[in-house]
């Protein structure tokens, strides 16, 4: 297992945001994390990144404990979310140069140009981040996320603000990274069709608890409690939100 999450819990005062969550991620796997708003997805990702200290439980990545080897682990992983931003007065290039320095890239400019081209934003290189659209900003985030060629990539709704064409481009880039470099990806999204296409396995969270783990079809059958031939994650999602499942 590349990532092992064991009995992870997080409470904020009386509120239990994540409740005894356990799951593992195999090397080279794209795993989806689904759940309604407030299910504990983002808190779990933030704990995996070491941004929030768990109340209890253990996170191990690359065989090392996140609590004691955070810096070493983060060298080989990356994260992006459309809900975080970059210093808006800096240009795209300047922002990416800062992260290239953090990761100590040998040929930063070449790597940045390659990523800008991959995500179709080469012409935005010298534009201030403040002048970018949400979709363009998301793509800058993806360039940052791929900067260090990570072994593990955590993506929080990476296609949230993208039009279908760019979202398709991004999904292809992710599948390519997984296929060619064996990148392991933890992926959250509210687009069920996208998750069905991208992820072999899904962790479904609700009220901070894991209510199902498995392939899209296994999740569908487990949570709808009936035999199905095709995955129907959207139906599952609505059933869970309405409280008729789990």
């Amino acid at each position: 297992m590349l990532v092992e999450v064991e009995n992870l819990s997080k409470t904020f005062g009386e509120f239990r945001a994540v409740d005894n969550v356990s799951f593992g991620i195999e090397r080279g796997e794209i795993i989806g994390m689904l759940g309604p708003n407030g299910a504990g997805k983002t808190t779990t990702i933030h704990m995996i990144l070491g941004l929030i200290t768990p109340t209890s439980g253990r996170i191990s990545i690359f065989g090392k404990s996140m609590a004691t080897h955070r810096g070493e682990i983060l060298e080989q992983m990356n994260f992006t979310s459309p809900y975080v931003a970059f210093p808006w007065r800096l240009t795209v290039l300047e922002n990416l140069k800062v992260f290239a320095r953090i990761y100590n890239l040998k040929k930063p400019r070449e790597r940045i140009d390659e990523l800008l081209e991959q995500f179709g934003i080469t012409k935005l290189r010298d534009k201030a981040v403040a002048r970018l659209s949400s979709g363009e900003n998301t793509r800058v985030g993806l360039c940052k996320a791929f900067m260090n060629d990570p072994q593990l990539l955590l993506l929080d709704e990476p296609t949230a603000y993208l039009d279908p064409e760019v979202a398709w481009q991004v999904k292809n880039a992710l599948l390519e990274a997984q296929r060619e470099k064996g990148t392991t990806i933890l992926y959250t999204s509210h687009n069920m069709a996208e998750v069905e296409r991208m992820c072999k396995r899904i962790v479904f969270l609700h009220h901070g608890k894991v209510i199902a783990v498995g392939s899209p079809i296994e999740i569908t059958q487990a949570l709808l409690e009936e035999e199905r031939e095709e995955p129907a994650l959207e139906e599952v999602f609505l059933r869970v939100v309405k409280g008729k499942a789990a």
């Binding site: 997080k10 904020f12 983002t42 808190t43 933030h46 990144l49 941004l51 929030i52 200290t53 955070r70 810096g71 070493e72 983060l74 060298e75 990356n78 994260f79 979310s81 809900y83 975080v84 931003a85 970059f86 210093p87 808006w88 007065r89 800096l90 300047e94 140069k97 800062v98 992260f99 320095r101 953090i102 990761y103 100590n104 201030a128 985030g141 940052k144």
Partner: protein, 262 residues
């Protein structure tokens, strides 16, 4: 600590300073404006024979050194607030960058900015009011170092508060030093304070630096007493700031406040 990651923080803030007019104003505008305004005031007093020449030097020296202290403390906190305003904290701290590396980078940028402000203010004082601080610098540097150390301790403590309470307490970045100014005896000797305030001034490293500066500009020489008092107090305040910051950072991580970006 990795140098390349400290460099990344320095580069990030240098880019910001180049593109952000607010930072240019903070760095050059206020130190220059302060020295121009107080310079005219000393000219007025000197022309009406209300001042001895050394008092003029002490006022201008005080303004320059206070500017150094204030800018350094403010820039430490504002540099961090910038990350909150830009919602960049998660981006930064989801990388291997450590808090110590971030603070070291920010500290270096603040030192560079303070140097720019100091040079600008000193040049105006020299050109417009014939006050040349350069010959005094060798003796003033120990006091300035004490001012910067105290500014660093305050900057760390305020950054800790901002970590915990986010932008709700951002006014501290600009306002806290103002609280210290009356008891720092920037423009007047400590003896002019009422007795009870003098007791407070004695535990301010700033007050010892300004007393020491006045001694030098008045030709009384370097006061070891004020220097070592400043050093001793700084050791205590710096240790307190580090302990406070470590404690508040742990609380921040426990409460998940690092990811609350406002």
């Amino acid at each position: 600590m990795k140098v390349h990651r400290i460099n990344a923080v320095i580069v990030r803030h240098i880019y910001e300073s180049r593109r952000n007019f607010d930072r240019v104003v903070d760095m050059i505008w206020w130190p220059v404006l302060d020295i121009v305004m107080w310079g005219f005031f000393t000219v007025y007093l000197a022309h009406s024979n209300r001042l001895q020449p050394t008092v003029v030097s002490c006022l201008l020296g005080g303004i320059i050194l206070w500017g150094t202290f204030y800018s350094f403390q403010r820039d430490m906190a504002v540099g961090f607030i910038d990350e909150l305003w830009c919602r960049n904290l998660i981006n930064l701290f989801s990388t291997p960058l450590t808090l110590a590396e971030y603070m070291a980078g920010l500290l270096t940028v603040c030192l560079l900015k303070v140097m720019v402000g100091l040079i600008a203010a000193s040049a105006i004082a020299w050109a417009a009011y014939s006050f040349d601080i350069v010959p005094w610098l060798p003796k003033l540097i120990p006091y300035m170092a004490n001012l910067l150390l105290f500014a660093l301790a305050i900057g760390i403590a305020i950054t800790g508060m901002i970590f915990r309470y986010t932008t709700k307490v951002q006014a501290l970045a600009w306002g806290f030093a103002g609280l210290l100014m009356p008891v720092s005896c920037v423009m007047y000797p400590m003896s002019s304070l009422p007795r009870w305030l003098q007791n407070i001034a004695w535990v301010m490293p700033t007050a010892h630096s300004f007393e020491g500066m006045r001694g030098i500009l008045n030709g009384e020489g370097f006061s070891r007493l004020h220097f070592w008092w400043g050093v001793g107090l700084n050791v205590v305040y710096f240790a307190m700031a580090i302990v406070f910051f470590g404690w508040i950072y742990e609380k921040t991580q426990n409460r998940g406040l690092l990811v609350k970006q406002e």
